[in-house]
Subunit: 418 residues, 2 copies
């Protein structure tokens, strides 16, 4: 480890302080089973924001919020005219979420700023830690709402009119959230960022299985959802000859097998899941006349994504066995590919800090995929136990969380001095 | 057509009279959609029994009922000491049943007796037309209740205590039914029959597809039901590597494909149906952790039935792909094989009457499978439109119904003179 200023800041990252802040945050929305339920713009979210303000005030960092409820904690640079380098993640959680998903990226950013204070290091550019509003999409849809509006992909007016299951609109919930702490300053939504870098738990088992501490993230895999309806003919299981049947279940099962072959991949990069699979009428002695199933297909490389996705519909049709097949795409996001220089920045500082690491794509979606549209973007992963996330049992170790924060701190200082 | 007494009686069968009686019966429990809902021992059943008594009285046939509610219409033979030849089927229907399932076999039997009257023909043995109680099993389980008790396979006390979904027991419903028409004589349950021969609609499409009028039935296929539970592991569709998954859906789909191969059969005799197929938790982006599916397996030949059935469990286990597999047999009935001389009797008179015919097993279960345990038994099928049964749209043509009745009448006279 050289004595560069990046390494000095990394060394100032305090594992215990980071952990204690994470545990403090997990009290806002704590569930009896040890998880967190902290919905976007809820009372628990408001309390967590208030805690953020206390910490920002403690170090003299400016704290502001934009019109869609994204929260910003800023450490000034020496050159106030420069666009800021940004980091962050989200405060909101799944209804039965864990203590790390999202909030880790926010606390890691804050800890990096504090480490810079402790190390007495100034950067040229300001650095801003962002807590994106409504990443999970569990209260308000779509998911990633705050970063979608920030990056101009979703109109603020459209977002404002979205209501939760109780009929409370984003607009109303936002007003309550912003009114609750008027000392948090206001700013317009959207600004030019020099870069964005997000730390997150992996939410999968790969790092743990391969005993790696850091994931150097290359991008976010593309995802496409299909709804497949197979329409055959109901018939009597005892009397209807097999050769005359149009059995929707047998056709659908054959489609699953054929798609498995199409998706076969030595490198284990493809993800293909048949999560919903419903069979009608569902009586033991009636030949199924209708099956509806979903395909969740993901791949991180755009070419392969498109090439494999293009085989899904013809494969289903080729195995219809006389049934009618209706195919609908219900979700579609092409792969996000981070710029090489951003992946290289994370890679370089990871190597300097020397934890075991793996270069890998992200399996889940993140606000980073929206920021990647407006500025150079990267991500840093740390392991989570058994790959479990979106679950109250979610766990990541203090050491791994600190390791990810050290890489982040080094990257931020590096990027903020460019 | 020779002028044998069998052919004389067959010629006396009156197509219009048979059809009119069937249509009269279909008014008891008529549904708005043109079907029939006539549950065992219901008010509709009681009304149909009263109509049976009127017809029996008209021709001087004795009408009696036994202690489980089976109804008997008897035409005496010349030798009162001889065991009767029997025929029949059932009056009860599915909740959304048709106008022919069951009741056709009873009306065909009655028409055969009347044809003997009209032809002025005496038989040596008496002939009894039986309406079995509770064949469908839709109100009281098990199905085939009346013939199970009659043939000593189900204790009467056990049957009596069975309750319907409203808590009304067979005992109570029987008392009401028998009290409703005290002029119908009582007799003990069970007697020695010389033979039993049942006419029924095919309830499948084979005769229609092959343009045959008569099915010479060789037996009733064996049936075995399996419940298969496949236990894998839930995982995140985006982050969980394919190689580490235990995907219950993919395993179950592979089992279906493998079982299809095991059951492959050029002669199209095997029946194998996966009617229920339930996948949990059923979320598009969660790898299924549990699948439950049923197998309905049928074959008419005992050896083949046993040989193929023996492959089901090992095939499922061979394709478990790391999942746990739990297998339960929930229904089990070996094939029923009718005696050659009974099949030959039906065959012979069918050939004499000369309709197009097919020698075939029965796909569905019938009271004949119980009678086959105590006396020589046979069955005669006629086509039903599109193979549809257990459905308000069930239909059979007057001409086909009469053709089946002619074969029955000839067989009954033949058997009753042996």
């Amino acid at each position: 480890m050289t004595n560069s200023i990046e390494m000095q800041v990394a060394a100032a990252v305090d594992e215990k302080r980071l952990w204690d802040r994470l545990m403090s945050m997990s009290e806002y929305g704590a569930t009896p089973a040890g998880g967190v339920n902290r919905q976007a713009l809820s009372a628990e979210d408001i309390a967590a924001r208030r805690q953020m303000k206390k910490w920002a005030d403690e170090y003299g960092f400016e704290i502001t919020t934009d019109d869609i409820g994204n929260l910003f904690v800023r450490r000034d640079g020496t050159d106030a005219d420069q666009n800021p380098v940004t980091t962050g993640s989200h405060i909101d959680s799944q209804p039965k979420g864990g203590k790390f998903d999202g909030i880790y990226g926010v606390m890691a950013g804050l800890e990096a700023l504090v480490a810079m204070e402790d190390a007495g290091i100034q950067t040229k550019r300001p650095i801003e830690v962002i807590a994106w509003m409504g990443e999970e999409g569990s209260r308000f849809q779509p998911a990633l709402m705050g970063s979608l509006v920030f990056t101009g992909q979703l109109a603020a007016e459209k977002a404002m009119s979205v209501a939760d299951s109780n009929g409370i609109s984003v607009e109303q919930a936002l007003r309550e959230t912003l009114d609750a702490d008027p000392e948090i300053g206001r700013r317009p939504t959207g600004f030019a960022a020099a870069a964005y870098i997000e730390t997150h738990i992996e939410q999968g088992p790969v790092l743990e299985l391969e005993q790696k501490t850091i994931g150097v993230v290359t991008g976010i895999q593309g995802i496409r959802w299909y709804g497949i309806e197979v329409l055959g003919e109901e018939a009597h299981a005892g009397t209807s000859p097999m050769k005359h049947r149009k059995d929707a279940l047998k056709a659908a099962a054959e489609m699953v097998g054929a798609l498995e072959q199409v998706m076969e991949d030595e490198t284990d990069t493809v993800r293909c899941t048949f999560g919903r699979f419903e069979v009608f009428p569902g009586s033991p002695n009636t030949v199924p006349g209708r099956v509806f199933f979903t395909i969740d297909f993901r791949h991180p490389v755009t070419d392969d994504f498109e090439k494999l996705a293009a085989k899904i519909e013809p494969t289903c049709r080729a195995h219809a066995r006389g049934c009618e097949v209706n195919i609908e795409i219900t979700l579609d996001a092409l792969p996000t590919v981070f710029r090489d220089d951003m992946v290289e920045t994370v890679h370089k500082h990871t190597k300097s800090l020397n934890p075991p690491f793996k270069v890998m794509p992200s399996g889940g979606g993140h606000d980073a995929q929206n920021m990647n549209r407006i500025c150079p973007t990267g991500m840093i992963f740390v392991p989570c136990k058994n790959g479990i996330s979106h679950n109250e049992a979610e766990y990541a170790s203090p050491g791994d969380l600190a390791a990810g924060t050290r890489v982040l701190a080094a990257c931020l200082v590096d990027l903020a001095n460019r």
